[in-house]
Symmetry: C6
Subunit: 276 residues, 6 copies
């Protein structure tokens, strides 16, 4: 289990190429917009709720554009150094290791910063010179300025639904990105996706989607966020495995999205009404 | 007492196998649900109060599924690095040590993050790519992406009873888990457990369970949390050792769960009423 | 004054054995309860105000049970690493040093975490696996899981009188401990203790105890905590040394416990009334 | 991808020279003021909203004055050490690396601290001795005092629109800088810029500018900041690429600047009214 | 100016002996109380305002008792390690350096923690085992328990006048110390001190003391703390040097103690009234 | 640009000698007071607004007294170690480097802590033993106590105008310093200074001073601090360079001191009224 001395081993960029076409059904003209932005070297911002397909869309576009996709899940402790790179000690010498952003710039990859508002301020500021006409990244620790090739693209995502005031993008950051809004897919499309991914038939998939849509209506009545397509698929998988549909919906939909007993009861009633 | 140079010694994964069947009596269909989720590669979330048997259930399922169980007690200072692994200096070379999550992924074990909301945000974000269809963990420091075998499962637990707003799971995390709710076992079953584990007879066990149930009713009258089955067993053990039943209940039930003198008095009255 | 290279020198566990019987007079059946808990491998929690004899009781029980007593005074900066142990660099090699908790587990000692709520959360979580039926401590840095012998016991103390909401034990911790409550000794016993320890006669000791008891009544009138037996003994020692009784009580009782001039005046009046 | 041992390699200052004249159309007499300040060794402060051309103006002036321009994007974690320089370990010796401020002082460059209020207090204090008649920087770690040549200039920028009380420049800092205010360019000029940079014709550029100006009027009705010239150019580029004008304006203007659905709707109405 | 390799050089304890009798005039029986506490191994707490002679009293008692006096000025960043000691690297070996508290214990010195409430909690907790009948200090890093000789004494000071709730001694700490209250010396004594230390005649010293006493009356009218004897001496020294008495009082008394213009004016009026 | 191995190079103290007489015109008897304090070994505190000449006065006095002047700009991250000194690693040995305070004590220099309230508490406490009759500084890391020669003086400055409650000097610190108040120079003197330093004629300098004085009257109407003499000189320099007087006053006075549009307008009106 213990691995010796592989400090500077870096994943070759080819590993980030997506070789099989991801399953993605466009909802609107998001593919054309993304393509136009990519051609014009415009950075892009995907706004939308949890589980509305932003990550899958990025994989699909990376596949179509034949570029490696380097994804970074942002969090409070992500530093600029994590993104750009650092020196690591190896024996008594020292080697530089590219961070994911530097690797993407060097290789003309697409760098996708998921939930960018979660990152610390210094992380966000580090992308500024990459997102205006300079398209460069200064690597202070190497004394280098890297200029991004035209193939490089920066994309970010965030969920406008539950940003607090302290965790919002500054205007000086926001105004650097073209923004595409995402939402849950329309019913007919979602039914198709649930059936395809979980193995249940179209009738059951339709029932699950109807439950999902009714739950989403609670969003303005105390529910923090609607149920994602992913959870509908979870329910479908459990049903396909033999769990009763009502039980499956309770444990894959009602319980995951809220701890509020009143909301849970209302959701259970929806489930019982549709899955008679 | 001092141990020399064992920096990279890691516990072999076999140590995490549970060899004897843990004592666990199912309350509902939680065993079937867990099994269905495991087969479908769905991560699972156990919700419930302190001492309602979540940890024991995990040990029981790990035994049934014959997988090693690697448990991490989450806390505020647990970092992503603690979970994933780190380099340690040994003499003048450097060795990589797997963290518990990486070890579980490599060995197809079940990784159980107990009280996950206590962990820092970066710890929680690190499990995201393991909980969608990617089922992978990027180990930045090694430049590796590990893909989880089908045997690997991620389970988390948390107690919805006393989460504050600042310590709640984000929707983008919650919606990745099928959720099973736990509660105290029903009276007949709990009586059996208390007698079995403490050595008192069924009559005394029944009295202890009745006291426990009445105390749990105080939960909506100022008591933060009900008395756990574990404390009922503690009381039983002290009684079995010769401490008077009333005294045993005071020191093993009333005093541990609250410092409020009024609540303590009410609980003492319950104890005196039942243990005449 | 400067000591060379003793990094990994650890105190042999025999140093923690208490060889002379400590002076302790039981107030109730606390000795029996402690002994029963010890035999049943139940961890114990001593609750009570400052100076009510918790530390002395621990020394007495350790003496009776003939186990070494390793005491840790908890504070905000105490880390899990401090408790468990760490690697220390010695020249160009590295040696492991057991922390007090690990040393207690290895040697079947009693580990006493004094004022446990003062410690950081990760410190408190580290004791969880030692306090259920697993009775083990994972030492991540060594890749070891230590199982505690039956002789090992974990005891904690805290003062419920002045815990704030932010510094309270979580229920998931509290419900792991049998709890014994401590309070100031009854008057007759306290008089005996004061006379024995300070050298004043029984009459003077009685006056001091009466002053102490009246001051304790102020606790519900603005006084944060009552006067401890220790301070009564301080006053006795100063009187025995020749300081006037009134002066001794002022500087050993009234001034230490409060800075509030009104409370000080009320306490002085009590002193003057009794020590005419 | 891994680079060996280049710890002390520093970018030669010539890299910071701007060789091609940047596209900049003066709005008022800002060029004369900057030149006069430069000749009189007065530090300068550019105040104005996001995307009003401050960075481009700095590049233009650096080009005119034929001085290297070293830009630092300030953020919360920028330390005085980051600005001044640090020692780095290389093998078993140690080398000093100039920070961007030190490099600018040594080479008579223009140092531009963008969004200076974001930096920590110690960073801001470090520029004090450079901004009065001492014009020096003490480098404590080298035991050096560097005196700035007349060619050196310090410029800072900040956006008075959204500074909170905690993030404001202290008077003792503010009163060291001559201040030039920036705003969006006047309509005729902005139309020219949008057409020039995006490729759309003058008619369409005029429509985009009119939309931009109307959006800016919302600033006193809940909009945090007006739409920048940069976003107008983004919209133009997408239109030039074939995206419908209305769609382009929505994704390049309405969505980037706000998440508020009501504001978005009002902005959409402006877009639809002008781009019939 | 640069000193080579003196890492483990420690000041010999003789340096802390006070060889000349400090100028101190007792106000009450504080000398007797201190002596009685010292004989009975009781730790002592000096409470009183700034400049009321606590530090001078400590020097006087150390001189009388012929013990070295090791003073530590407490502050927020003082750690337990600072007090107890640490290992320091010297070339490629490591040496232990005693902290001031350890040095005092080893040498039977008096250790004086000035303004103890300023220190961090872990610093204060470290003195607990030294202040009960254990009179020991565990040095975890050396694996040693040091027992204090009878000559060792621990003294602390604090100023009850401006402690906030967050910076107060816990009862479990307070109740370990005999407390002596200090205040400004009575007028006749203070006049003598001012004349003796500043060189002005008794008449002028009397005027200064009268001004001081009147200013102290403002303490209940918005003044945070009265003027110390030290500042009266400052004024006297400036007068002795030729500065006009009124000017001297303004700059040595009115201006140092407050920035409030109204209070300054009231104080100036007192000065002008007395120094006609 | 990279400098090799100069870790322990320290600036010789002669570098801190001021060789040319600084331009300073006394306003009152501040020179006499400073001289008297210096002779009597009294530390001094300069209180006054930004740009009122405190730093220049220190340079002037250091020149007159022929002592080196070591200035430290205090900030939140300045530690006691920064002031006192530290060990630095050089190759495989270690060298001590004096901090600015230690260097001043060793060389009998004047140490000037500018804006002392910005420093952390441990920094401020470290000066206590230097500011009473002990006049010493303990250097714990060297095990040395340095006694200050009579030539050494400690001076601090702070601006009472905008100290918040959290950033105020403690009384135990304040009462160690004689305090001299600074304010803007009287009109006649300020006119002379502005003309002398900027190159404009006496008439224009008079106008600038009148504008400055009127702006200062706004201080009680929302302006945080008055305009400093330095900014008047900035305006003069720009006018001398050919910028129109009104424009020069706007960018050198109105804009630097406030972002409030209403206050800016009022100030512009003053400018227009005087510079017709």
């Amino acid at each position: 289990m213990s691995t010796k001395c592989c400090l500077s081993r870096e994943l070759p960029v080819e590993e980030y190429l997506i070789e099989e076409e991801p399953y993605y059904v466009p909802v609107g003209n998001e593919v054309e917009i993304f393509t136009a932005a990519y051609k014009n070297l415009l950075p892009i911002n995907l706004k939308g709720p949890t589980g509305s397909g932003k990550t899958r869309f990025m994989e699909y576009m990376a596949y179509r554009l034949k570029r490696p996709l380097i994804t970074v899940a942002c969090h409070e402790d992500l530093t600029a150094t994590d993104l750009v790179g650092r020196f690591l000690i190896k024996g008594d010498s020292v080697e530089w290791n590219d961070g994911p952003l530097t690797k993407a710039v060097k290789n003309g990859a697409i760098c996708y910063l998921d939930e960018v508002v979660e990152a610390r301020k210094d992380t966000i500021v580090v992308i500024h010179p990459l997102t205006d006409d300079r398209r460069m990244i200064p690597i202070d620790k190497l004394g280098l300025i890297l200029r991004a090739p035209d193939e490089f693209m920066l994309a970010i995502s965030y969920n406008p639904g539950y940003q607090s005031a302290v965790k919002d993008l500054k205007q000086s950051t926001r105004q650097r990105f073209v923004s595409i809004e995402f939402d849950y897919p329309p019913a007919r499309l979602e039914k198709h996706i649930v059936a395809h991914e979980s193995g249940v038939d179209e009738k059951m998939a339709g029932d699950l989607v109807e439950i999902g849509q009714r739950i989403r209506n609670f969003k303005h009545h105390g529910l923090e966020e609607g149920v994602s397509t992913r959870l509908l698929i979870y329910a479908g998988k459990l049903i396909h495995e033999g769990i009763s549909p009502r039980e499956a919906c309770r444990i894959a939909m009602a319980r995951p999205i809220t701890d509020n007993p009143d909301l849970q009861k209302s959701i259970d009633e929806i489930i019982y009404a549709i899955l008679e």
